[in-house]
Structure formats: C-alpha cells, structure tokens
Symmetry: C2
Subunit: 319 residues, 2 copies
DNA sequence: TTGAAAGCGCTACCAC
DNA sequence: GTGGTAGCGCTTTCAA
C-alpha cells in the first residue's frame, strides 16, 4: 500500500497525491478531495521512514531509565516529556530494569531509533562508546566520556550537611543512616553523610537497605538492633525512609518525637505518609528539563558544560 | 555525513561500507577494519530513516497516557514497556496532561512516528478517526470505533459490589463515596457504587473530589459536614482515598474502626500509608500486557475482540 | 493545475 | 572480495 496505489485509485499521478496529503496549495479542490477520499478508502498511511528520509525533520530522543516504577524516575521522565513536547520532539522510553544485560540490549537497538540519548547508563564507558559513536548522549548522575556527550550531576552534599546539621541543632546525636545496597560499594550519599557527621564530631551507624519499602523495613529492624537509642535517621532515598518509618512505629517509636527521619529525593509521595516525610530534595522537574536542554545543545553541535543540580533540605514533618 | 563520506575516507565504494557496518560476511578483514575506523573517526551514524525504509522491520508503538505522574498510569506504562521489549518493539510515550488540546496535537504528529497507538484517548470519535486512518489503535477504557481498532475495558462492577458487600457485612451502613470531578458527568464507578448500594437497600452520599491528595482532603471535609456519622467510604481512586484518610484522621476518626475506607486501583503506593489502603484492585500488569497483545493482533491484520479486565476487592487494612 | 524526473541514504542483488 | 545498479516510498524541483 503505497502512494502509487492511491494515485491509481484516484486516477492521478503519485505526485498529486503527495500534494493533496501535504496540503500544498497548487492543487484543484475537487482533485484533492478525490485523492483524500481514495486514501481514506484504502486506509493508506504514508511511510514514516520515506517521509523522514526526505524531510529530514522530526527528532526523537531515547530516554533510558532504570525503573519506571520508582517514583523518582517517573518524576524525571515526566519532566523530560514536557520539555521534549515543547520542542516537538518524540521520546522513546526504555526501562532497563536496572539490569546490565537489558541495558546492553537497549544500547544495541536504540541507535537506529533515536537522534540522541538521555538517561541513566551504568555499563562501562567503552561498552557505551561502542554503541553510541556519533550519537549525542546526556548522562545523568555519571561522569561523561567522549565527544557529543555531556552530563548532569546531582550534588547532595549541601543537602545532607543541612540534614545532619538539623539533627544536631534539634539535639539529636545518635544518628544512623540506611544506605543503598549497591554492587559498586558505598554510595556517594553515604560519603556525604559521613563527612557531615565528622564535621559535627559525630559517628553514625550505617546499615545497607534494599531499595524498596520492604528493604527499608528490614534494615530498620537491623539498625535498631544495633543502636536501640537511635534518635535520628537519614536514608538513601524516600522509599526506604517510608518503610523505615513504618517499622519504627511498629516498634514503638513516635516520629518525629522519638526518631526524626529524613529521606532523600523529596518525592511527592512523601506527602502521602503520616507524618509527611522530610527529605533532601532533588528538583526532578529541573533535572528532566535540563537534560533535554543539554540534548538540544549537543544536537546543535555545541559542547555544553556538565550541569550540577544541588539538592536541598526540605522539612515536612518527620524531622 | 553519509555512507559515501565514509567510503571516500576509507577508499572503498559505499556498498563496501554497508557490508562492514552490517557485519556481512563477504568482506576482507582488513578492509572492514579500515572502514570501521573511518566511520568512527568521522562520527558517522547511519540514517535511521534510510535504514528503516529499506529494511522494513522495527516496529514502534505510541503510548498515550493522560498523566504519567499518576501512579496508576505509571504502572500500566511500565507493564506495556516490558511487553513491548519482549517483541523488540520501541515505545514512544506521550503524556497529554489530560488536556484535549495536547491530545489533539499528539494525535496530529503521532501518526508519522509510530506503527500503532495504544492508550487513553478522550477526544470525539471523528476527531480521532481523522488522525488515525489506517493506524491500528487499542483504546483503553473506551469503546472502539472503526477498523484496525479494538478496546480494553475495565469492569469494576464486581469489585465495587464486593466492597459495598464488605461494608454491609461488617456492619457499616452510612456509606459515602468520593467520586471524580468529571467534565462528562458522574463516573461509571459511581454508577456501579449506586447499583451496589441499591442492592443492599442503602442510600449513599456522593461528593465530587479532585483527582489528587488535596482533592481527597477537601472532599472529605465536605462529606463529613453533610454526613458526620459516616462509617464507610469508597473513593474514585487510591490517591483520593489517601487524602481522605489523612483528613479523616485529623478530624478525629480512627481508621478502620470509626471509618472504613476502600479506594480504587489497588496501587502499590497504597501499601505505604498507615493503615495500608484497601482497594478495588485493577491488574495494571495485565492491562499493559494485554494492550500490547492487542496491538500485535491488529498489526497482524486480525480483528480481535475487545478484552475486559475485571477489578476485584483487595483488603489490606483500611477496611 | 498537473506530470515527469531527481534524489533523500541506505541495503540487496547482481555482475565482475 | 568488491563495485555497479536498482529500488525502498516519499517530497521537491522543473516542465508542460
């Protein structure tokens, strides 16, 4: 089913069909209608490839996310979609399920579908490079490598320092942290935490937690076992914090009276729990928007500086 | 920057470049390496359009969602992404922000980007048809119209009947509902609710609520004003329920003792609140997966029957 | 207003 | 193993 079939059916040349379909001026009204009718009749649809080939417009961006079900990434994706729409760009979303094999498969096919990539990549530089030569890439939360590439960093240091300072100021000194169970060792957030603690001449207990409500619940049991008098808690992210708060309450701790809790991410869902979750807040809106901005620069052939998004303390109720 | 530039740079014909790039057999190892090096050097990248035009493979699906930040749609989208990946399909996501104008713009451009559409469309049939002739469409939660089209319906009737029956069985008789503030009048869910109430010879109070935590909070104030002795509440969705629970508690109601609450959707986030939210559960996993299945049928030229997903009562703690 | 011809960048099928 | 030629479906000149 091509443009020629429509032409035949309408009794005109295929160029005329093109004119009718693209609403060009130079065409007789009756002819145009006849062509349009024929096209509708046949259920004709122009090939997006042929059209894209000759028109050379229409940009699409590949958005690579580790887990759409994690509200943090949903917020980023949502902001990116809005920013892309403003430019009439299309966004192809890939969820790698936080799995290197899936990420590899994504990388292998994404190149033939999009004009640029933005998102969270975790494979080694050389693997990424091999699949993305010539393709602009905006990395989030990871340093950059090679040409046509830039990065957006999330700096939580100030935010976490503010959180620890808040704990100290409100008389909390038995402070713990529930970190991420990471294959790559202790997280940056944990380092920031420990630096902040050192600044206050404090030493904190750190326990690893799975990145889920359940992970938070389990880790909370562990940390309270080690340190029953814990009076303040920072977590790797909000989801862990929510799980931790639930368990803490079941174990008889009032929040924030007995135990102050501060999460990380500052998600909207933090307002849904009781008390509302205080958190080191990342502006996901800005993160997603900036990512698309950076793509635009890359696409324009520029070599933009990496951008840093700074997290800040957002007090809601749990601390 | 085309394949010919690479050919020139490597000193071969452009067909040979194609062979090298596509890993075809019939090529000398040295030549191949030379071509690959030249390509890398130049940052060459094959045109996805030219390639798609001649290869005629690679399918991409347009997923149209009213609001990615609503966890319900996130769950559906997530499932659809998984199902699409299994078939090596690419998914282009469009968030219409629940806005007819944005939906219209989406429809206008989506046709030249994807091979099929699946999702939530709210414009009138004729508008949709005009933009999607020849394009397969899988509608979710809406009846179908025209060829190359099918639908997936969500039937919450049984689930809501079960919810009301549960209320009645546990001795609750002052039952209210927080419905969706809809431009199109009372929702289907409200009709189901009222039918169920009639079955039990009960009459419920219904109040409209905005689709957000805040909407739920406000509507809760209103309904308790009208009916201070309310002892059971059904809501249009889980987000509204969560807002309602918060306000109810602030107004001195214990949940579920004084007020039993059942939401609708059965979202994961319902487990994050205290007490965990009971809900009429929709299998979003199945919904997303089935949607992609239906696309596959449509793409194969079949004319699949509409599918119905039945919601069921999921008791967690709030009722 | 319409038709003919060129060409977008690529792969595939021939020859050589 | 390599180059020539055709052609994917379309838009866009250029003539008629």
């Amino acid at each position: 089913m091509t443009i020629r079939d429509v032409a035949k059916s309408a009794g005109v040349s295929y160029q005329t069909v093109s004119r009718a379909l693209n609403d060009k001026g130079e065409i007789d009204g009756t002819t145009k209608q006849r062509v349009l009718d024929a096209a509708r009749e046949l259920g004709y649809r122009p090939s997006r490839f042929a059209r894209g080939l000759v028109r050379q417009d229409s940009t699409s961006i590949g958005l690579v996310i580790p887990d759409l079900m994690n509200p943090f990434f949903t917020e980023v994706a949502s902001a990116a979609l809005v920013a892309a729409r403003r430019r009439d760009w299309h966004v192809v979303v890939y969820d790698t399920a936080d799995d290197p094999a899936q990420e590899q498969r994504t990388l292998a096919v994404i190149g033939s579908q999009v004009d640029a990539i933005v998102g969270y990549l975790s494979l080694p530089d050389d693997v990424i490079d091999r699949h993305t030569t010539g393709l602009p890439v905006v990395h989030i939360g990871r340093s950059t490598s090679g040409a046509h590439t830039t990065a957006i960093h999330v700096d939580g240091e100030e935010g976490i320092h503010a959180a620890v300072a808040h704990f100290a100021r409100t008389g909390r000194h038995r402070i713990g942290m529930l970190d991420h169970e990471d294959r790559h060792g202790p997280s940056l957030r944990r380092t920031w935490f420990q630096n902040a603690m050192t600044n206050h001449d404090l030493k904190g207990t750190v326990v690893a937690a799975g990145q889920s409500i359940d992970g938070g619940q389990r880790a909370m049991v562990t940390i309270l076992d080690t340190q029953p008098k814990l009076d303040a808690l920072l977590t790797y992210n909000d989801v862990i914090a929510i799980g931790a708060m639930r368990t803490a309450r079941h174990l008889g701790r009032r929040i924030p009276e007995d135990l102050a809790v501060i999460g990380f991410d500052g998600l909207h869902i933090g307002t849904m729990v009781e008390p509302p979750l205080s958190s080191v807040w990342i502006d996901t809106q800005k993160l997603g928007t900036t990512a698309i901005d950076q793509v635009e620069h890359l696409l324009a052939g520029e070599d933009p500086e990496p951008v840093t998004i700074r997290a800040s303390l957002l007090l809601r109720g749990s601390a």
